[in-house]
Amino acid sequence: MAQPRSMFQKIWDAHTVKRDQDSGEVLLYVDRLILTDTSSFHAFDLLRAEGYKVRHPRTIFGEPDHFAASRGPALSDVVDAERRTMVAALEENCRDFGLVHFGLGDPRMGISHVVGPEQGITLPGLFLLCGDSHTSTHGALGALAFGIGGQTAHIMATQCIWQRPLKNLRITVEGERAPGVSAKDVILGIIRELGPAGGFGHVIEYAGPAIRAMSIEERLTVCNMSIEAGARSGMVAPDDTTIAYVKGRPEAPRGEQWDRAVAYWRSLPSDPGARFDRELSFDAGRLSPMVSWGNTAADVVAVDGRVPDPAGEADADRRRSMQRALDYMGLAPGQAMHGLPIDQVFIGSCTNGRIEDLRAAASVARGRRATVPALVVPGSGLVKAQAEAEGLDRIFIEAGFHWGHPGCSMCVGTNGDTVGAGKRCVSTSNRNFVGRQGPGSRTHLASPLTAAASAIAGRVADARDYLQGGA
């Protein structure tokens, strides 16, 4: 009988073209490639200079997201001439090479990692790549997906990528989440345990009852942040929830091909007895809403917790880096997170810019007033349209939040939406690095519920107080 295999191994094997004996690297066949507006121009420059052809243009999707302006949907809304040139260049490059392009103004445009699943570009069992590191998001549907940085030209020209075998880590998430605890809190809690490099070289499979109970959007949030633990990718096995989500999406298979696909997807979950390089378990039942205090996503505490003391850290390098983070963030050891005054709030990004995230934030904002500037940016044009159909935009606007046009926006600030130097922002995005939201910006990562509650309070707040009708 065949060896039991993990889901990751099955997808890897199905895409193996050949193995290089010398290096041990494997040539893998790529099903889908997504290009964003920031970096793909390096690849097109190379294709043109060397005269390479794109092997399968229809499997490649161009999606301007980093420079898309939150103030409007047109190219003229993009913040400056240089960025307009980049957005226009992606469109032109897609046209010249015959690639699919969801440009500004197209109702389907948005953040690559929101649009992929939404359009059915992402499907279970596929091998999907994108230049952006948060490509791990797409693994929530049972795809193998990761960020590749600079190999875009290679993939366009060969439809393949060389890859060293990866390790496989399974995290079994047990327990039932308490009210007010979201998928974002679960993944922040997991990253705190793993550390910022704890998943290095691994593909993480998230399993267990707490993951099975999650919606696809929640699983996307979890897989999105795998990279913040240093992992290459995150995955969740396809199940009925996945198949119901994928069905009828524009790029999903239909008719007889659909039936064949579903039969294959049912065979993907890890076999009983499959070997993992590492296994961990995590209890989501004991978790509180989380908020970050430092400059990695592992630097988190419960919202009712306190900033840790570097003096308690045995490792000297780690102690110095904690101290540097506290200095940068303007925090003192032992300080309570709850009640910390903030300057602004950002709700959006590929982590938490989907409709369920906006519904969660709106449930807190409804009938209240923001006391600090708060920006809500839907992850895609379709998310925006859905939110408007449900009246969520009205709730936000009446609560004094700013309602923006889709894109990456303040997650990284490359579209001009930045957090000022020394300013403190509660953000639903995924990175709190030094300068991530603008030079000198201080980012506190949190869930949409926590972010909305903090916008109302003008301080780091506990959304549970608001859900129970308090404060």
Binding site: A14, V17, K18, D20, D22, S23, E25, L27, Y29, T38, S39, F41, H42, D45, E50, Y52, E82, R83, M86, L123, G125, G131, D132, S133, I148, G149, G150, Q151, A153, H154, A157, T158, Q159, C160, W162, R164, P196, A197, F200, G201, G230, R232, Q257, W258, R260, A261, Y264, T296, D317, R318, S321, G413, T414, A421, R431, F433, V434, G435, R436, P439
Partner: protein, 202 residues
């Protein structure tokens, strides 16, 4: 790509851990083309410059003995974070052809290889020793022998390092990976024929 064989050059030591790609190349320079003549000035821009635009004399690459450095010696989890290829391009354009560290963000590692920058992993204690030698002798040189897979430190001690054959081949030949992969075209085409049978829905 310029072939990489043996390099003897000034090496700059930098002790911080978790130097992420946002610090190596701040996001606002992501849209610059590789051919931009200003590119070398974007490397570590926010560490090299003070808020008023003047040079920060505390940053290693601003200190006279290290100005011509072509080798950079960092600490653990070097180049983690965002997958921006531009971080590797910034090293290449600045003229740094080799980065030594105990561990790297793995996308950054691959981007280095693709851009002709040799990333070398050595044990943490070895890298710490090399950094303290370089601090003690500002402007001292290291020798990197890629064909022999060795780093020769300031005291002449040889430290062997691992690198996969494919990356090594590309760096030594200065060949593009696309050309090397296109040599496998018959295998790719055979795979596609099989795959269309089994994965028609894809």
């Amino acid at each position: 790509m310029q072939p990489f064989t043996v390099l003897s050059a000034v090496a700059a030591p930098y002790d911080r851990i978790n130097v992420d790609t946002d610090q190596i190349l701040p996001a606002r320079f992501l849209l610059k083309r590789r051919t931009d003549p200003e590119y070398p000035s974007y490397l570590f821009r926010d560490l090299r410059q003070q808020p008023d635009g003047s040079e920060d004399p505390g940053f290693v690459l601003n200190q006279p003995p290290y100005r011509g450095a072509r080798i950079f010696v960092g600490n653990t989890n070097f180049g983690g974070g965002s997958s921006r290829e531009a971080a590797a391009i910034a090293f290449d354009r600045y003229g740094i052809r080799c980065v030594v560290a105990p561990s790297f963000g793995d996308i950054f590692y691959n981007n280095c290889v693709k851009n002709g920058v040799l990333p070398i992993r050595l044990p943490e204690t070895t890298v710490a020793t090399i950094r303290s030698q370089l601090h003690a002798l500002p402007g001292a040189m290291l020798t990197i022998d890629l064909p022999a897979q060795q780093v020769v430190d300031v005291e002449g001690t040889r430290h062997p390092f691992e690198i996969d054959g494919f990356s090594k081949g590309c760096l030594v030949e200065g060949a593009s990976q696309i050309d090397l992969t296109l040599r496998c075209l018959p295998e790719i085409e055979a795979f596609e024929r099989r795959y269309r049978e089994t994965h028609g829905w894809a």
